[in-house]
């Protein structure tokens, strides 16, 4: 999507309910701005995020996907983010292996207290995606029109 020729990426952020979604809330209540390109989907835990959701987002036109969860060791469900960490590491590695720009995916651990980190991370990520430009390697052409 572009407005006035400026590239406005579509970014999906999966946030776990207990830490990162709360971190995003804190960023909000602290008025720590980040671009509106980021849209958050609440999931109970980072381990709920199926690689298929991430690929699906790219298919449907997302330019970047970020997954945020509790810091390792702090998972509300004690171990969920450890599984998420392995899954995402392997998935990202595979995407990289297939020639998809590796900056399009990211995992960041953001606690409920880290509003600043949430906002900084999102600012960085949007900047990165803007520098990478539109996602052409994983999109489905049918969704472009």
């Amino acid at each position: 999507m572009s407005i006035n020729n400026e590239f406005r990426p579509k970014i999906v952020a999966f946030c776990c309910n207990w830490c990162s979604y709360a971190g995003a809330d804190l960023a909000g209540s602290s008025r720590l701005a980040y671009p509106a390109d980021v849209k958050i989907i609440r999931v109970p835990c980072s381990c709920r995020v199926n690689p298929m959701f991430i690929l699906r987002a790219f298919e449907k036109g997302a330019d970047g996907v970020i997954l945020c969860g509790c810091h390792p060791g702090d998972c509300h469900y004690s171990t969920g983010n450890y599984y998420a960490r392995r899954r995402m590491t392997l998935l990202f590695s595979m995407l990289d292996y297939m020639g998809v720009e590796n900056g399009r995916t990211r995992v960041e651990w953001v606690s409920a207290a880290e509003g600043v980190k949430f906002s900084t991370t999102m600012n960085e990520f949007v900047e990165k995606i803007r520098s990478l430009g539109e996602n052409v390697r994983l999109g489905d052409l049918r969704c472009k029109n």
Partner: protein
């Protein structure tokens, strides 16, 4: 009879492609399939059998039928345009030409399939005679002469030349388009090749496969044979045989959600798949045995029953080569033969 030196073929392709799109065997990542000609395309006429048949040119593996566009709560419907431009399919072997004729029986009989019909109307078939049939070929069984295929234009590759013979009006028109590149020729080289091929075809292992006992009238007898119980066992239920087959014509219709609407498309289906003919109430073939049987019964019994005895198999041998479990129609025919039908 006309001819063109093989080294000038790129010029011929370019000349054809100038007026219409040209589809021909192209090698990509080590495999040869029919594909659109471009300057960069690695045209491969040496491979006898493309992995997929030429069926895609007229009946693509998937094609959009119409698109629903959503704007707020209103929907607009946009039918997919039918083929309006001429195109040339070059290098189709005799078996695949017959395959298209079999598809015609399905799609051009009432109710006519408008998408297929439009492509048939605008497609020009330039066939290519086989120069070196292989062990899996058994087109002869179905009365196909691979040395003299049908088509709008028929071509042969012999002694450094591509020989060219227009066989229909469409063919004549195409010949006129590229007349500058063709020279007149006698038929000696082609005749010699035909004779050689005839001799080789006789020696092919499956050349004399007998179809005795396979016709539209043996439905119950074949259907109820206990042989299927053994035959289907190694089947993996993949769609390889179906998708490489020039005559398989089953398709499924599906919707793709584009976010702002729906694209309704159809795509090849395979009777080997567990969701083949799945309906709201469930599936009428619940076991792989039933699905496996369906494929062969369709080709050798149901189809002939509805089409004046014509089998829905052309003996191209692709399934023989590609089945991961080494199952194929030949083994099925032979198994029944061995059991005394």
């Amino acid at each position: 009879m006309k001819r063109i030196a093989l080294e000038n073929l790129p010029k011929l392709y370019a000349a054809i492609a100038e007026k219409q799109s040209l589809i021909l065997p192209v090698k990509k990542a080590g495999q040869t399939n029919f594909g659109l000609w471009t300057e960069e395309a690695d045209v491969d006429l040496a491979t006898l059998k493309t992995v997929k048949s030429a069926k895609d040119a007229f009946f693509p593996q998937s094609e959009t039928l119409y698109t629903c566009q959503r704007d707020g709560k209103t929907l607009s419907l946009q039918p997919e345009k039918l083929e309006e431009e001429p195109f040339v399919v070059f290098g189709i072997k005799g078996c695949d030409v017959r395959g298209i004729q079999i598809l015609d029986k399905v799609f051009l009989s009432e109710p006519v399939d408008s998408f297929y019909c439009a492509r048939r109307k605008h497609g020009i078939i330039v066939s290519l005679a086989c120069a070196a049939p292989e062990e899996s070929c058994f087109c002869k069984v179905f009365g196909i002469d691979c040395a003299e295929p049908e088509g709008d234009v028929v071509t042969w590759i012999a002694e450094g030349y591509l020989y060219w013979k227009a066989a229909t009006e469409k063919g004549e028109a195409l010949t006129a388009q590229v007349a500058d590149l063709l020279e007149d020729a006698d038929t000696a080289a082609v005749d010699a090749q035909k004779a050689a091929i005839a001799a080789i075809v006789e020696k092919l292992p499956y050349a004399n496969l007998s179809l005795e006992g396979w016709n539209g009238k043996v439905l119950n007898e074949k259907f109820n044979s206990p042989l299927w119980e053994q035959l289907y066992k190694p089947c993996l239920a993949c769609g390889t045989c179906t998708f490489v087959c020039p005559t398989c014509q089953c398709y499924d219709i599906k919707d793709y959600n584009t976010g702002n609407g729906v694209q309704r498309y159809r795509c090849w289906d395979s009777c080997m798949y567990s969701d083949f003919t799945m309906m709201a109430h469930g599936n009428n073939r619940t076991s792989q045995l039933q699905r496996f049987r369906q494929r062969f019964m369709h080709k050798l019994v149901y189809f002939p029953a509805n089409n004046d005895g014509a089998y829905s198999c052309v003996g191209c041998g692709r399934c023989v080569e590609k089945c991961p479990s080494h199952l194929n129609i030949v083994k099925v025919i032979k198994a029944f033969e061995k059991e005394g039908k």
